[in-house]
């Protein structure tokens, strides 16, 4: 039942992010052990398709690598969501207002400048496509099926628990009669 619950949590998380740019779906991996089924989370390597937006600061990565961004507290994280805007100070910022980092710290982009993969410190074989965004790599149909499957497996686990409970009840009754 715990495993089914985790599967449902993973499927709903994927469904909730069906519109989040650059999102990569989380896969549920099940393992059998002496204690039953354990579910682990693994971020899928599958990437979303490119969606044309026509904005000159929407960037999609073709190939490996991620954009590095720094928030106001100085924490650095990685993202493939390339919906950027130009800040007042000329630096490139992502949709959450975090500063986009290049090879040498924050990236400044004068109006009309063209950016390529090397500016972001991406691997050599990767390219950056301007005017496109990476769509979330979530298939709503597959996630729906996962939600239903998790629900049904929860129900069958419940039947098993009820059956074990019933057997024990009978054993206890038998002991009492003697």
């Amino acid at each position: 039942m715990v495993a089914a619950r985790t599967r449902l949590e993973i499927a709903t998380q994927n469904l909730a992010n069906v519109s989040t740019g650059g999102f990569r779906r989380v896969e549920a991996r099940g393992f059998l052990s002496a204690l039953g089924v354990t579910i682990t989370r693994q971020t899928s390597a599958q990437r979303g398709a490119l969606r044309r937006t026509g904005r000159d600061l929407d960037l999609a990565i073709l190939g490996e690598g991620e954009f590095r961004v720094r928030d106001a507290a100085g924490r650095i994280s990685a993202t493939r969501d390339g919906a950027f805007v130009r800040g007042t100070d000329g630096t490139l910022r992502d949709s959450r207002g975090r500063v986009v980092l290049g090879v040498h710290g924050a990236l400044s982009v004068p109006s009309g400048a063209a950016l390529d993969a090397r500016d972001f410190g991406l691997p050599r074989e990767s390219r950056v496509q301007t005017g496109f965004l990476e769509a979330p790599a979530v298939n709503a149909v597959a996630e729906m099926i996962d939600v239903l499957a998790a629900q049904r497996s929860f129900e069958s686990a419940e039947k098993t628990v009820a059956a074990i409970d019933g057997t024990r009840q009978k054993a206890a009754d038998a002991a009492r009669i003697r």
Partner: protein
């Protein structure tokens, strides 16, 4: 399950705001100078690294150029390229817009339909007609020849997407967007004015319709997630019988 319930509910809330933004775009698809916006989303991640849903970050305006269409108004203007008309309201506050449907008021000023005054131009009462060049020069025709009576300047911002939208076409300056820089239109790499034309909205109806369908289905899928989590909670509560 309680977490799954929350995660799926956050997805429903996000799609709801998405739908509101798209509906607003669609409703204004026929408004001159309207700029469409799009909702942005981010994944919510708990400190442990596991996801706890999604959040709508708010709508962001897209300043893509709308189509220019020839119109019949005597003072219709369109901006070809970036930039905004500089307008003043009754209190003298500066506002910025790309809606160029001006009409001449009794005092000679050019005003938009919601009574905002275009800065830097006043047409004398004895002028017979006025034209505006690509560089913003306003020339008026009088009984005795023609004369230049003013220049229309445009405002540009470092980060126009961070301007504060007052309505679909009118914007207010913000510290995030930067100070307005005045530009003279008509430079070879800058905006140009088109006299006798209007800029249509940059919303494509077909695209907006498609977005509505996608958002609606995503909403439904998340609602199913809420239902499944609820059902599992019910089963768990019924485990203990008698």
């Amino acid at each position: 399950m309680d977490r799954a319930l929350f995660v799926a509910a956050s997805g429903m809330a996000a799609q709801q705001s998405n739908l509101e933004t798209i509906a607003d775009n669609l409703a204004n698809a026929g408004v001159v100078g309207f700029k469409g916006s799009a909702q942005r989303f981010a994944e919510l991640v708990a400190p442990g690294g596991s996801g706890i849903g999604t959040v709508a970050l708010g709508a962001r305006v897209f300043f893509a150029q709308g189509k220019l269409a020839r119109s019949g108004g005597p003072f219709d203007l369109a901006i070809d390229g970036p930039g905004f008309f500089i307008l003043r309201d009754r209190d003298g506050r500066r506002l910025y817009s790309r809606d160029g449907q001006f009409s001449r008021a009794a005092d000679g000023t050019l005003r938009t339909s919601n009574d905002l005054r275009l800065e830097g131009i006043r047409i004398p009462s004895d002028a017979l007609a006025a034209t505006v060049g690509d560089d913003g020069t306003v020339t008026a025709k009088f009984n005795r020849g023609t004369r230049t009576i003013g220049h229309i300047r445009l405002a540009e911002f470092a980060a126009p997407e961070l301007l504060h939208p007052l309505d679909g076409t009118c914007f207010e300056a913000t510290p995030q967007a930067g100070a307005a820089t005045r530009v003279t239109p008509g430079a070879h790499d800058g905006p140009a004015l088109r006299f006798g034309m209007l800029e249509q909205s940059n919303v494509t109806i077909v695209e907006a319709m498609m977005q509505i369908l996608t958002a609606q289905r995503a909403y439904e899928a998340n609602a199913k997630g809420v239902q499944a989590a609820d059902e599992m909670l019910r089963i768990a509560n019924n485990l203990q019988r008698g």
